[in-house]
Amino acid sequence: MIWRFFAGKGVQYALVLLFAATANFALPRMMPGSPLVFLAGEDVGFMTEAQRTQLYQAFGLDQPIYRQYAIYLANLAQGNLGHSFQQGRPVAEIILARLGWTVLLVGGALLLATVIGIAWGTLAAWRRGRPFDIGSLAGAMLLESTPSFWLAMIFIAVLAAGARWFPVFGAMTPGAGLRGTAHILDVAWHLVLPMATLTLITVPTLFLIMRASLLSVLGEQFITSARAKGLTERGVMFRHAMRNALLPVATVFMLNLGYIVSGATVIETVFSYPGIGRLLFEAVLARDYPVLQGAFFIVTVSVIMANIAADLIYPLLDPRVRHAR
């Protein structure tokens, strides 16, 4: 069954991948501005035509655009993402160094936000129309509309600079050279504020979905019949309603899973966190085409993988999909 699934979807995903790879190639090059200053340095104005040409040749930018595209696709097919204009290093290596931090931050926040969102949404739906529910809705709306950089700045001002409970920036204490447990604790300590910010701005969506989904399930006939059987309210809630209400939340979770590797640009920049989001932001400013291509490609692949995973897992969660097959 798995094989049939892949044969059907395989062509579709390959086309998506090719389209994405082409867009990743074309879009950065359509931005006005030149990467030359990042290739050569700030005094680039003083270079002669010949010296500029030497640089363009070194990075393949002297080739006509269709040849650059062909080379890019050929390299990509071999798993070669090229070298960064800005740093000279292989793009794969740069992305790999940042990937761990981003997965830790964004993945952690997504898990945390999902757990909190489910619990909070359930409680609110259970107490529908009561002060807790109304207060929660207002709170979620407020959080939802809070700009992440503002929340991050408040955290930095109050909890890091004011109370001095947490560090102001970074993913670990610079130059401390900690090892083992001390290093893990140091990383955890630096993770608290960025992760709290990201979690807080992600929770409202999950809360709202969970609450709405649970309320609609609670109106179904099978809930009435469960109640009629004399089940306790708690039993109806957890055994019957929640399991069914979780499906939309699972969908959102799966979709978000694919975007974990794209990082959280704003939060990573404000906290100077070394993730993919900040890398992308810096690469856009520097017109670092290879890094942009590479990072967006990784994001594309990861979103496709998340979709495949969702397709495979969904039948396990929802028997109706299973029977429909």
Binding site: M31, P32, G33, S34, L36, V37, F38, L39, A40, G41, E42, D43, V44, G45, F46, M47, T48, E49, Q51, R52, Q54, L55, A58, F59, H83, Q86, Q87, G88, R89, I94, A97, R98, I156, A157, A160, R164, W165, V168, F169, G170, A171, M172, T173, P174, G175, A176, G177, L178, A182, L185, D186, A188, W189, T269, V270, F271, S272, P274, E282, R287
Partner: protein, 533 residues
């Protein structure tokens, strides 16, 4: 659940206890950088400031700019210049060594300049253009033969180009390889110990440094992307110094903060109104003068910089620059602007509130500025308001840096022309301290006036500029520079608005021997080591 949260709180507490002493006892100085600087070697560092300054902690130059930006001998002990200024014979100091213990000799110097000529780098390669040859007759002696005498040779070449170890770089032959090369063996006061991509650098003092004891044992350089966060970190004691200049709003607060010292001095970076002198209307110097006259630069300094800036001089150079033409001042008032406009025939003929040129073209311009600089955006808005008052319409357009530069300075090549009317722009501090700054900024040949982004042309200025670049005598240099400034002040191809002061803060409890380089700040080698005797 309760158990988990208790252990979490405990964990955090233990961790805070563990970490607090680490920062305090390390004896290290933490100086924040603005962004990644590659591997900190001459082919991978990124920014002119602070990147170059940090790179020169690891690599040495033959000369080094002192606190007045005058080049002083560094690796070099004696220098002999021929009377025509074309032959420079330098004797290196004895016992110079690379970090790996190998001796640093004149062969390395020769190698460096030949390497720079071969492997393109925007800062090193142009310095080799005027070199006829570099010889190393014996291990201590280097002889530079120049094609023509060069006013900037000491500062822009000898005090700028870091010497590379030949035994390490000779195998790195292409630009791409050099840009990816990670070796950091230099001869400087610091060795690179640790590079954490996107996070920080750790440098350790070189115990065998020839110029004597290095003042700070360990230098940690965290990268903090956000300016506000970097100053918060300084205030919270998580860094000890910051390569960014303090924003005016923070000065008063930092001066009052215990344990923090604020250093202030003239700044050599500039904020200018750049005209496109090739523009059909703006090519008229009278119109440029009228526009400049409407701008109240004194008020701008008070409003935008809270007084922490010097009002611009019309000859570009800062009054604190050794080349400044004394007494040069721009006086302009709104009344004067109106008088100039009326006299030149720029009047509002169709009554729409906007003046027209005699040929009917309305005085309507786009003013570009960079999104990354809030002060310049507010400056552009002020200019728009003031110009509207005298009947000149301005449309302010703000965009991200690379997009603006694409119009003002396409491909960073003045020879490719320009696509703008006016821009609020600026140049960094090193441009000001070069004796040849006025030539770079205003010479009409796009290969010589490499940053003449407005396309300004004046044959009299060109002639003086050609004289200046080959003049070695400082007194004569100053005379020529003064004449050039007077021409520029007359023609106004740019209008210098102000020079922001260089204001820098540090935690004096950790380290207080920072040396303040005029116009540039404390990120200099001289903050960590005294000049060699």
């Amino acid at each position: 659940m309760r158990k988990l949260s208790v252990s979490l709180v405990l964990g955090v507490l233990i961790l805070m206890l563990l970490l607090a002493p680490v920062g305090a006892q390390s004896g290290a100085v933490r100086l924040a950088l603005t962004r990644d600087e590659g591997w900190l070697n001459p082919y991978t560092y990124q920014t002119g400031y602070p990147g170059w300054n940090i790179m020169t902690l690891v690599y040495d130059t033959l000369y080094y700019p002192d606190l007045n930006n005058e080049p002083i001998p560094w690796l070099v002990r004696t220098t002999r210049v021929s009377t025509d200024g074309r032959t420079w014979t330098l004797t290196l100091r004895p016992n110079l060594r690379w970090h790996d213990g190998r001796p640093l000799t004149s062969a390395d110097v020769k190698f460096t300049f030949e390497y720079a000529a071969r492997v393109a780098h925007s800062r090193w390669t142009p310095t080799t253009r005027n070199l006829e040859s570099v010889e190393a007759p014996d291990p201590q002696t280097v002889v530079f033969r120049l094609k023509q005498a060069d006013a900037g040779f000491r500062l822009r070449t000898l005090a700028d180009v870091p010497i590379l170890p030949a035994h390490i770089w000779e195998s790195v032959t292409t630009v791409a390889a050099a840009r990816a090369f990670r070796n950091t063996v230099g001869s400087g006061p610091y060795r690179v110990e640790e590079v954490q991509d996107g996070q920080f650098y750790r440098l350790a003092a070189n115990p065998q440094y020839f110029a004597g004891p290095v003042k700070v044992r360990e230098l940690v350089l965290p990268i903090i992307r956000d300016a506000t966060v970097s100053f918060t970190a300084l205030q919270a004691g998580q860094i000890d110094a910051n390569s960014r200049v303090l924003t005016p709003e923070l000065v008063a607060q930092f001066e009052k903060t215990q344990g923090i010292t604020v250093m202030r001095g003239p700044g050599f970076a500039s904020t200018i109104l750049q005209f496109n002198v090739e523009h059909p209307l703006l090519k008229d110097a009278r119109l440029r003068r009228a526009i400049a006259s409407t701008i109240n630069t004194n008020l701008m300094v008070r409003l935008l910089m809270l007084g922490y800036a010097t009002v611009g001089s019309p000859g570009y150079l800062h009054p604190a620059s050794p080349f400044y033409a004394a007494g040069l001042k721009f006086e302009g008032t709104k009344a004067r602007a109106v008088a100039i406009l009326n006299e030149a025939g720029y009047t509002d003929r169709n009554g729409d509130g906007i003046r027209e040129a005699p040929d009917g073209a309305p005085l309507q311009f786009t003013l570009l500025t960079l999104a990354g600089n809030p002060v310049r955006i507010r400056g552009a808005e002020l200019i728009r308001t003031w110009l509207k008052d005298v009947g000149i319409a301005v449309n302010v357009r703000v965009a991200e840096d690379a997009a603006i530069i694409d119009q003002v300075w396409p491909e960073f090549d003045v020879c490719r022309g320009r696509r703008f009317d006016m821009a609020v722009f600026g140049w960094s501090a090193p441009v000001m301290s070069r004796p040849t700054a006025l030539v770079d900024l205003f010479h009409s040949d796009c290969r010589i006036g490499a940053i003449n982004i407005g396309g300004y042309k004046n044959p009299a200025l060109d002639r003086l500029g050609e004289q200046l670049v080959t003049t070695v005598d400082p007194t004569r240099q100053k005379q020529i520079a003064a004449q050039m400034q007077k021409i520029v002040a007359q023609d106004l191809p740019i209008h210098v608005l102000f020079y922001p002061e260089t204001i820098m803060a540090f935690r004096s409890s950790t380290y207080d021997r920072w040396a303040f380089q005029k116009g540039q700040g404390y990120v200099t080698k001289l903050s960590f080591v005294d000049p060699p005797k």
